[in-house]
């Protein structure tokens, strides 16, 4: 995309997503928004606020309370000319739809040799840090990222939330769109319009640095940036890579970054075992083997169910925990 005059607005992540839905619906009459409470209420996070009023009940509507039904119904809509955007009210409430997502949405294109495409977006308010009770704070990306046929995207700021969602809706492939709940209220400058670079599948270096590379996505990115800031005060220069898209995975940017510093910490809120963070650590360890001065460290959620509100701070990757991991990277001068 060449640089043209681009409209900008300062929006929270929730507003940016709402705006992306509105703009996509206005542009393409086949875009439908559906799910539990997404109609008149505007969703429990108000992300779909005003869409029913603006586009009518046929375009943004409440469904019966059944996640497999929503995902399966959307599959049919997408098979027949629509571009449904469905909302799973909270991460763990997407699990009843697992069969539909994994065996149908992910596989329809492949099963039919590309004849049936499913341009469908599954929006999931995602991850923790908001003091939610059980089942309201799961990080479910690894389940989806492990399933071929799905794109899995996790923005870390309002601008990416807007542009990645615009692209997800326009994509012929099904996209699991993970919305970090704790960033819903974070504001930022958003470039409006479709086709903003970088697109889905591209990671970016959010902060340059020379001593070690922090690799993060979604809600972990702001924490990584904070850690880098803090480290800088202590004289250590940390680079921060924001994946943006888990699938497709950007090996190029990630490996180049790690090779440039020779040290890496992977940060993710999800349980660590058999996770996306494990994948990143394994890939980086394999591909950058000879550039690595220290083992790749992971700072992830522990291998426990997401804690209740009063204990969640123990589970979340924190600046201190990230800096501890950095300190661990076998610095010869330490």
């Amino acid at each position: 995309m060449t640089s043209t005059a681009v409209e900008h607005e300062t929006l929270s992540t929730a507003q940016a997503i709402n705006r992306a839905l509105r703009d996509a619906m206005a542009e393409d009459p086949t875009v439908l928004v559906l799910g539990e409470d997404v109609g008149p209420l505007g969703g429990v996070f108000r992300v779909t606020d005003g869409l029913t009023a603006e586009f009518g009940e046929d375009r943004c509507f409440d469904t019966p309370l059944a996640e497999a039904g929503i995902a399966g119904f959307a599959t049919g809509l997408a098979m027949n000319g629509m571009r449904p955007v469905i909302e799973m009210q909270f991460d763990a409430f997407a699990y009843p739809a697992f069969e539909q997502v994994v065996s149908h949405i992910a596989k329809m294109r492949n099963r039919t040799r590309g004849r049936v495409e499913l341009p469908l977006v599954i929006r999931i308010p995602y991850a923790g840090g908001i003091g939610g009770v059980e089942h309201h704070c799961d990080s479910s990306e690894s389940y989806f990222a492990h399933t071929p046929g799905l794109h899995v995207v996790a923005p870390s700021n309002p601008s990416d939330a807007y542009s990645l969602l615009r692209e997800a809706i326009a994509s012929p492939d099904p996209v699991v769109f993970l919305e970090p709940k704790k960033l819903y209220w974070a504001k930022g400058e958003v470039a409006l319009g479709r086709g903003r670079e970088p697109g889905i599948g591209k990671a970016v270096v959010r902060r340059p640095g020379t001593d070690a590379t922090l690799i993060a996505y979604g809600p972990a990115v702001p924490v990584a940036l904070e850690a880098a800031e803090e480290a800088a005060r202590g004289g250590r220069s940390l680079q921060v890579v924001d994946l943006r898209s888990i699938v497709p995975f950007d090996d190029g940017v990630v490996c180049a970054a790690v090779e440039s510093t020779g040290r890496a910490v992977v940060i993710a809120e999800a349980v660590g075992f058999a996770s996306v963070a494990a994948e990143i650590a394994a890939r980086v360890s394999e591909r950058c083997f000879h550039s690595l001065s220290a083992p790749v460290r992971r700072v992830t959620g522990f291998d426990i169910p997401y804690p209740p509100p009063k204990l969640e701070h123990f589970q979340l990757p924190s600046v201190d925990r990230i800096l501890d991991a950095v300190d661990d990277l076998q610095w010869e001068d330490a």
Binding site: E36, D37, G39, P40, L41, G42, V44, D62, T63, P64, L65, A66, E67, A68, G69, A92, F93, Y95, P96, G131, G132, V133, E134, H135, H136, F273, F302, D303, I304, P305, P307, P308, P309, K310, L311, F314, Q315, D320, R321, D324
Partner: protein, 369 residues
């Protein structure tokens, strides 16, 4: 066949024994629960209403993470608990703390989940109350399994499994009812139809003649009852419990009621319903209805009413005191209960937390010096 089907279809109108003004209906005139039962129910409802109010204050004060109100649904929740024997089981949803308290669970423990210091505050075996369940309808198959296990051992346990109108749309509702029917499990499925699933009104959830009409599709008798009429609820639910206990299998009871407050403290109900609608239902208040009747009949006097209010106040006090006590959260708990023995990975991970904590403490100490 025809008579079988008829037996399973609900009455056309919900069973009502006391009308909204507290007067016995024709059916009520024919038979009402004993005065003592009704008094017990009233006491429970008074306590539930007060408990609910207290919880609302606590959530505003930040002592609860979230609170789904039971205001308006006290008759349903109290009746669901009251009809059970000690050996029976109750399977509540997140909204049913009032039922849990009515069952005898400590009110502070009943609020454990919503307080945010642990997922389930009480020991489910102590009063035979399953943990509050949030993922909708998912507790219903558990209820069937518990009932079936008891039946295999020849026990006479009955299980009361509660869900909302919205939850009936979930696949787990369907699978649970069918399992119960096929295994003739002694389960009473009790739908509190409060007209909304968060913002979604019943008409967008189902166009069935009633939710109770779902029973016949499983071979289960369905019944509708006025959910703001404690007398009717006690009659219908205890009938269902006793038939289940007698080996006649599961039943489906739909109570028509209303959620007077918003879905939770985080919800804004003005976005999806009118004040008029709420006002209309406030007029059908289950407490007022029963109290009016009991006073008219001379079953309830001022002294007794005052005693109920005082007992309710005592529960509120206990709740308040308990929730205002801060418990230092202990991270060890996060690792201790995942498995019967922690894996070596969990041991290592807890050590990380301990190490962080002792370094933190050290640096706090250094700061102080």
């Amino acid at each position: 066949m025809k008579s079988d089907v008829d037996r399973m279809l609900p009455s056309l109108e919900p069973v009502m024994l006391l009308d909204p003004d507290g007067r016995p209906t024709a059916a009520g005139k024919a038979s009402l629960p004993a005065g003592e039962e009704l008094l017990r129910g009233l006491a429970g409802m008074v306590a539930a209403r007060r408990f609910n109010e207290q919880a609302y204050v606590l959530v505003r004060q930040g002592r609860l993470a979230v609170y789904p109100s039971s205001h308006g649904q006290e008759a349903c929740q109290v009746a669901a608990a009251q009809v059970l024997a000690d050996d029976d089981w109750l399977f509540p949803t997140y909204r049913d703390t009032a039922a849990v308290v009515a069952r005898g669970v400590d009110p502070v423990e009943a609020l454990g989940l919503l307080k945010g210091d642990w997922h389930s505050g009480y020991d489910p075996y102590e009063r035979r109350v399953a943990p509050l369940t949030t993922p909708l309808a998912t507790q219903l198959p558990h209820a069937v399994g518990v009932a079936h296990a008891a039946r295999l051992r020849g026990e006479s346990t009955v299980v009361m499994a509660i869900c909302g109108d919205g939850a009936t749309s979930e696949g787990d509702f369907h699978e649970a009812l069918n399992f119960a029917a096929v295994f003739r499990a002694p389960v009473v499925f009790f739908i509190q139809n409060n007209q909304y699933a968060i913002s979604v009104p019943l008409a967008r959830q189902s166009i069935a003649p009633s939710l109770a009409h779902k029973g016949v599709g499983y071979g289960i008798p369905g019944e509708q009852v006025d959910g703001n009429d404690l007398a009717a609820l006690l009659t219908v639910l205890s009938g269902a419990v006793e038939r289940a206990r007698a080996g006649q299998g599961p039943q489906l009871v739909e109570a028509r009621t209303y959620r007077i407050q918003a879905h939770t403290n985080a919800d804004d109900a003005t976005r999806y319903r009118t004040d008029d609608e709420v006002t209309e239902w406030v007029a059908k208040d289950p407490l007022v209805r029963l109290e009016t009747y009991l006073r008219a009949e001379g079953i309830l006097d001022d002294a007794r009413a005052a005693a109920f209010a005082e007992a309710a106040e005592e529960i509120a006090r206990r709740t308040r005191d308990g929730l205002n006590r801060d418990v230092e959260p202990n991270p060890d708990d996060l690792f201790r209960f995942v498995y019967s023995r922690p894996t070596s990975q969990l041991v290592d991970q807890l050590a990380v937390v301990h190490d962080e904590m002792s370094r933190d403490a050290l640096s706090r100490e250094e700061d102080r010096r």
